[in-house]
């Protein structure tokens, strides 16, 4: 087994225990596994890169500080981390309420495998999706992002958001309908034909 494959075989739980026992490499592996996912969720929920970076760093810092008290097997590290990240997002949104616009938000880098027109269209669709997400109420947005972009199960989302599975289903269903309605007026602009 290669060192990379061996590292992949170690669970997040075990890596966190290794970190708490002083293994510096465990932090790098956990960051590689969980950092991009937390950052992705924070980007979608916050709608801006700078805020998402702050949330990600803060959430990871709380993970490091909690490591000595972690009890393996009781919960998933990723679930705990998502929950912290979501709460940080809510806190920041509450503090920023009053018309904050993140000028630091930058579009995704273009994919060189596609034509310029396709890249622009895909970029426009993703921007439209993000704009529609930002119109959703906070909890609906979180549920939709966790369900449809992070592909977490409803019970896991319920654990993260501290609500029932039924409430998750209701939030995601209403969120999807609201997104579809918000995007309906931009179908032609986004290159969707009526055929």
């Amino acid at each position: 087994m290669s060192p990379a494959a061996a590292a992949e075989a170690v669970s997040d739980d075990a890596l966190l225990v290794l970190y708490a026992n002083g293994d510096g490499r465990a932090a790098a592996e956990l960051t590689a596994r969980l950092g991009p996912r937390v950052f992705g969720i924070a980007m979608r929920v916050m709608g801006g890169r700078a805020e998402a970076e702050d949330v990600t760093q803060d959430a990871m810092l709380r993970l490091w500080k909690m490591a000595p008290d972690w009890r393996p097997g009781e919960a998933q590290v990723s679930t705990w981390l998502y929950r912290v990240a979501m709460n940080l997002c809510i806190d920041r949104k509450r503090r920023a309420r009053g018309g904050y616009v993140d000028l630091d938000a930058v579009p995704e880098p273009p994919d060189p495998g596609r034509s310029a027109a396709e890249q622009m269209q895909e970029g426009a669709r993703q921007d439209a999706l993000q704009a529609a997400l930002m119109q959703l109420p906070e909890r609906q947005r979180q549920a939709v992002v966790l369900r449809h972009l992070e592909e977490l199960s409803n019970p896991e989302i319920a654990g993260i958001m501290d609500i029932s599975v039924e409430a998750v289903e209701s939030l995601t269903a209403r969120g999807k309908r609201a997104l579809a309605a918000a995007l309906a007026g931009r179908r032609e602009e986004l290159g969707y034909s009526d055929g």
């Binding site: 970190y19 708490a20 026992n21 002083g22 510096g24 932090a27 790098a28 960051t31 950092g35 991009p36 996912r37 950052f39 992705g40 980007m43 979608r44 970076e53 990600t56 760093q57 990871m60 810092l61 490091w64 500080k65 490591a67 000595p68 995704e108 994919d111 895909e122 669709r125 993703q126 439209a128 999706l129 449809h148 972009l149 592909e151 999807k176 309908r177 997104l179 579809a180 309605a181 995007l183 309906a184 179908r187 969707y192």
Partner: protein, 124 residues
């Protein structure tokens, strides 16, 4: 109804495209996260602690007295002291005389030979 289902399908396509192209963790953020991890790691993984943690006890003792040069000086001083004690130069006063003891016949009632004689007489 058909419109809603089409809109939901297009939304699913957008979700799929977003999932296929997740944002990467910026390098400076990755660096900051790892710096935080090192700073708050239990046992304090600072450079000094890492060095101390990896060194055996004898090496830490040597470092505590000032490293190899200090240990060399300490060894030389010990050797000189031992030599002066065993073969003092003529100008060095006898420390026993300085403390008020004089070497004479009554100073030590029994040397080892006399003690052996006393014990042997008791046995007889």
């Amino acid at each position: 109804m058909a419109d809603e289902s089409k809109a939901l399908q297009e939304l699913e396509d957008m979700f799929a495209a977003a999932r296929a192209d997740p944002p990467a963790l910026p390098l400076h953020l990755n660096t900051a996260i790892l710096a935080d991890a090192a700073r708050v790691q239990p046992g304090g993984q600072t450079a000094a602690n890492v060095r101390a943690e990896r060194q055996p006890m004898w090496r830490q003792l040597i470092e505590a007295v000032g490293g190899w040069p200090a240990l060399g000086g300490l060894t030389a001083a010990c050797a000189a002291g031992l030599w002066i004690g065993m073969a003092p130069p003529s100008f060095v006063p006898d420390p026993a005389a300085l403390a008020g003891y004089e070497e004479n016949g009554t100073a030590v009632p029994y040397d080892s030979y006399d003690m052996a004689m006393v014990l042997s007489e008791d046995l007889q």
